[in-house]
Amino acid sequence: MVKPEVYKELGLTDQEYQKIETIMDREPSPTELAMFSVEWSEHCGYPRSRKWLKLFPQEGKYPSLVGEDSGGIIVDDLAIVFKMESHNHPSQVEPKQGAATGVGGIIRDIFTAGAKPIASLNSLRFGPLTEPYNKFLLRGVVDGIQFYGNCLGVPTVGGEIYFDESYSGNCLVNAMSIGVCHKDQLARAKAVGVGNPIMYVGSSTGRDGIGGCSVLASHEFSEGEEKRPTVQIGDPFTEKCLIEATLEMLATGHVLGIKDMGAAGLTCSSAEMADAGGVGMEINLDDVPLREQGMEAYEIMMSESQERMLVCVKAGHEKEIEDIFAKWDLHGVVIGYVTDDKNLRVKYQGKVVADIKTEALAKGPVYDMPAEKPAYLDEVNKLDLATIPLPTNYNEVLLSLLASPSLANKAWVYEQYDHMVQTNTVVLPGSDAAVLRLKGTTKGLAATTDCNSRYCYLNPYRGAQIAVAEAARNLVCSGADPAAVTDCLNFGNPEKPDRFWYFKNCVMGIVDACRELYLPVVSGNVSFYNESPKGPINPTPSIGMIGILNDVNKHCTQYFKDEGDIIFLLGESKEELGGSEYLKVIHGQVAGEAPALGLKVEKAVQKVVYEAIGLGYINAAHDCSEGGLAVALAECCMSDQNNMIGAKITLVPGIRADAALFGESQSRIIVTCKKENLCKIEELAIENNLVCNELGVVGGDNLEIANLINLPVEQLSQTWRSAIKL
């Protein structure tokens, strides 16, 4: 029997090893053991989460594609494919390469589905910038995203960045990519047709990233560990050539299946393609292009060298495919063929080094993990507003919030990303959602990412619902109809019941919110073990969402446009401060309940704003989120840097002034319109039983709110724009 040290080193448990022996009915070879370890790791096989992920709804307003490596929707003749994926652990270890290869990996998932990547977004989380290592991480991650994305020519059009102590020691880098193709050109990730050749295309295989998914992504960080050798190295130029070559190859019509060699490299791509096609596969590692001498079979099977893919081609067309890759100076070689025995057989140097049932590899164990509500939470949820003193200077509070890194302007980041290449970006970064035109149609696509992890920490079920609701609200504010969801579920160690309780409740929150808003979850990713000696991260179920505009010219932006426009608020401000940025920044507390959310009201707000934008009644629309009404109004005044404009606002009476200004009540959207359209919008609101309050009027150089706040927009802008510059 294999020594326990060996399989434990590979991340396998005693029970898992026993199961492998039972499946094989013999002692596994070293290569086989390595292959099981990567395929059954949480990163590839989702053994601890799969049971819950099955609950996600898959139906929505558009036909959905829930695919192998990514998912999407069909809009008329177009398939829109998108997915979000984490690259947290590699980024914590080596931020530039970690983030770069995260971008590269998710983009490969898109073009291996046959779609041309048209946009990227990313959702990032770091510890406070007061710690030098967190600054180093932010700088490195942004550098990695720009290095890779800019070179590829895929615009990075949006995303979010938050800072919280819980991410010190374990940052989050969630990359999302969106691609488009004709619906008939979608490619599948499967091998079919006994005797058809299996081709290896792209870059050569080296020792980088060996065991990245089992060693890095499936364990938490402990003190002083050296993990750098398991981080992959990215080469965006090669990937750019690979995109072009792959799309050219797919256009030949000779490709039957294609899969990225991402996590678990050749092992995952070969086993899962064969399993998906219900066939076997034989591959010969002697034919794999290597960049290093003397590599062992297990190293070749586990390598996570970037920019490589596995393709199943119609027999007789190998040469054509080879020629396409040669044109782009990339490898394109036959390394095996489809067999009829449902086994994955791997040969190297004349010997069979692995022979495993593909199903056993691809469908690993499923665990039912125990979950338990953390004991501390009831205490944390207690918040008596009577103990929170009202501020004496509201101007100062607003300026402090605008300078808080989570709320501050992120131009320093997004101006380093090419967000315009491909000439589709109609709404540039800095509004509620990015809007892209879909060339060749009149339609547009809006995209956003969202998650307030502090809410999820206080109430995972509601926090996850809010993430879905807010993402949809952002899209609606841009004039889009929310259409479909991808998620990236970032949590701590699932073997600890309190962490798993958070996971389970967040999943249920997403499930219920998506059902109510009629949104399918078409793709996603789970990242567990996000903890360091300092503890787990806040539960962070990042939501990526796309929406459709029937007429891209009818998009809307958040900034105030014309002097004299009427400003009003759709939705109700409640007396709640739990989990707010105000409570944290001004009073140093993370406490209370997450804001209340009624999905029926949420739907009504979104319906009214979507319809009113479509009818041309609305000049600006902006979601009220972190920092509350006051911060949202300030953003409306200053986010169009060349056309900043003030506003004069009165508050709706009835609640504490700090809750009215900085409370984060959900389902609220600030809108502006010409005077003559006011009653039309009010009518729509009444029809939908929605609270609608006139707040004031656009104009002047100052933002004036009741007799509490009066500041020049120029000063707000300077504070907001200078907070993040490294």
Binding site: Q146, L152, D329, E415, M420
Partner: protein
């Protein structure tokens, strides 16, 4: 009239330029793979932006040795119109078709945003439809757009009225705020900003379109003359 868009491995604004010529100008246009050596059919060559050869060694330094570049030099020497945008400008500098060199941006960051440019001369085939002194808004997206030329070279550029665009608020440290220049014969333009990204109103501005329209007008007049 026929446009050609040169494609190197790593070019990534090739399709954007193609789109503008095809869909906005509605003029004939073809992609030209970098291994092509005959360019007799074309009236205007576009060397697009992107990361030819992944910016290895130095931006444009490897593309400069692509088989097509001999032909591009020949085409330009015969008076053909060549416009190099961003990485295309860098390639033209490396090939010696335009004077000067590119350094990294002064802040050492990639910068992508709309910037204001002043039109310094309308006496080129590329800028004739602007007004001299007009301020236009065209986006930049580069890491190495800090144009450098020595004093003597700068004096030469000024003397010959070769500076076409300058930044009104220099974003990258370029000498004399230079954003775009032509050669002495005025048939080769290199510019860091991307006119193809603002040639349609849908994209929030169409100031870049005037460059394309100037080219079309110039080529039309040329064909009438000949």
């Amino acid at each position: 009239m026929k446009f050609g868009v040169v494609v190197f491995p790593g070019s990534n604004c090739d399709q954007d330029c193609f789109h503008v010529v095809d869909k906005v100008l509605k003029q004939p246009v073809e992609f030209i793979w970098h291994k092509t050596t005959k360019l007799d059919d074309y009236d205007c060559l576009i060397i697009p932006g992107g990361f030819s050869y992944g910016d290895s060694l130095r931006c444009g330094a490897i593309a400069r040795f692509s088989p097509i570049m001999e032909a591009v030099i020949g085409f330009a020497n015969k008076g053909g119109l060549v416009i190099g945008i961003c990485n295309g400008f860098q390639v033209l500098l490396e090939a010696g078709l335009l004077p000067g060199a590119m350094l990294r941006n002064k802040d050492l960051h990639f910068i992508c945003k709309f910037v204001d440019l002043k039109v310094e001369t309308t006496e080129t085939p590329f800028s004739s439809q602007y007004k001299k002194g007009q301020v236009v808004s065209i986006p930049i997206a580069h890491n190495e757009g800090n144009y450098y030329i020595d004093d003597q070279g700068l004096a030469e550029l000024k003397k010959n009225n070769q500076i076409v665009f300058t930044y009104t608020n220099n974003p990258n440290g370029a000498v004399a705020d230079i954003a775009g220049i032509v050669n002495k014969n005025r048939n080769i333009l290199g510019m860091m900003p991307h006119p193809e990204r603002c040639s349609e109103d849908a994209l929030g501005g169409s100031d870049g379109r005037i460059i394309w329209e100037s080219i079309v007008k110039w080529l039309n007049q040329k064909s009438i003359k000949s």
